[in-house]
């Protein structure tokens, strides 16, 4: 399961608010991205070429998330080798042909690893600690989604370049990859101390 907000920032301006940052590569693979949007669109074009070539081969074999992840690590590292990196952090998620789930992340200079939970940008600082506490490979889909929503909420509270408009994408052994509709999270701003922060501490700021 992958999640991201739909913001395309332009410096500190929150310029484009309906930008899909998770794409379905094929029935078994999803890719999510943070960073430079034009470079991400370029990566999407590369992946489209890759999967079209795969389709053309017509041998009944489809690229799995592992192969696509491996391809992306090479693309990213190759461009950093040219001292012209693609300015993105990517997350690849999917299910292998034998049903094993896969999750991996690649950075802009080609650094990569696989894990049971990954996150880019602010998520690496705010979401992963939550994941470490609550994630388990055996957890149910509903629990995983609840955890993901909690993580998104924290990111929304503390990342200035985020908006309350998210998408969750899922892929499972018995469910082909699909990116969900955008939704907003419930947030809390109604603590008494929020309305009058200094009421019980006169003289403070």
């Amino acid at each position: 399961m992958l999640a991201a907000d739909t913001l395309g920032a332009y410096g500190s301006t929150k310029r484009y608010k309906s930008l899909e940052r998770i794409v379905r590569v094929n029935a078994r693979t999803l890719v999510g991205a943070g960073g430079e949007v034009s470079d991400f669109q370029y990566i999407v074009r590369l992946l489209d070429e890759l999967t079209t070539d795969d389709y053309r081969t017509d041998d009944g074999i489809e690229l799995g998330p592992k192969e696509i992840f491996s391809y992306l690590t090479r693309v990213m590292y190759n461009r950093r080798g040219k001292m012209d990196p693609l300015w993105n952090s990517l997350v690849v998620g999917g299910v292998e042909a034998d049903g094993t789930p896969f999750l991996g992340t690649v950075g802009m200079i080609g650094t990569h690893y696989e894990d049971s939970h990954v996150a880019t940008g602010f998520g690496a600082h705010l979401a992963r600690p939550l994941f470490r506490e609550r994630q388990s490979d055996a957890m149910s889909e509903a629990d995983a989604e609840a955890l993901l929503r909690d993580a998104l909420r924290v990111c929304y509270y503390r990342d200035k370049q985020s908006i309350n408009k998210f998408q969750i994408a899922k892929v499972a052994a018995d469910a082909p990859a699909a990116v969900g509709e955008p939704f907003a999270l419930e947030t809390s701003w109604d603590y008494k101390a929020f309305a009058a922060p200094t009421k019980w501490a006169i003289g403070a700021w």
Binding site: G8, Y10, L19, E36, V37, Q41
Partner: protein, 226 residues
Amino acid sequence: MARIVAGSQITDAEYMRDISLGTTIIAVTFDGGVVLGADSRTSSGTYIANRVQDKITPLLDNVYLCRSGSASDTQAIASYVQYYLAQHQAELGGPVRVETAAKLAMQMAYGNKNMLQAGLIIAGHDSSGGSVWAIPLGGTLLKVPYAIGGSGSAYITGWCDKNWRAGFTREQAREFVRAALRHAMARDSSSGGCVRTVVIDSNGADREFIPNTKLPPTYGELAAPA
């Protein structure tokens, strides 16, 4: 950039700086077409190099381009795209889609992103109706219901968010474009002069020119004497 005059070196004179379209440009879809708009100021430093510039360039009969950023870069991109589109039109033997024009422009902008200073808005009408495509600095391509660009756009983002509506009529869209440009020109010193608009629908493109003196005055300024 330097010039020798009477033995002394004049470096970087105002009128010799890079000519830039510190600009306000805008394009809006409406039911059945699109409206494009732009101010007419081109600056070189603080000097107004051209006060009646045309920043809305035709790419095809049914597709126009709003240019912002470096004047030379965007002119070069426009020329290339015009050339490739003409070739493409000959191969297809029929009308070219707005999306194709936008994608070609994106290829130019993205493929040379390190050398270019170009913010483009492409809009037009084809068999699937009117559409607007934004190509900001890095070469991202986005299909949007409306787009604003150039230095002046920063002053009107809020106004546009508030006043834009889905399903504008042709007249509403045109009025939105005019008012947005007027507000931007009132606050952005790099935008000014006159307002040019192009309306494109199934009947083709229709240009309009609104001279500076015909623009309504804004807060704190005076109307031009009659």
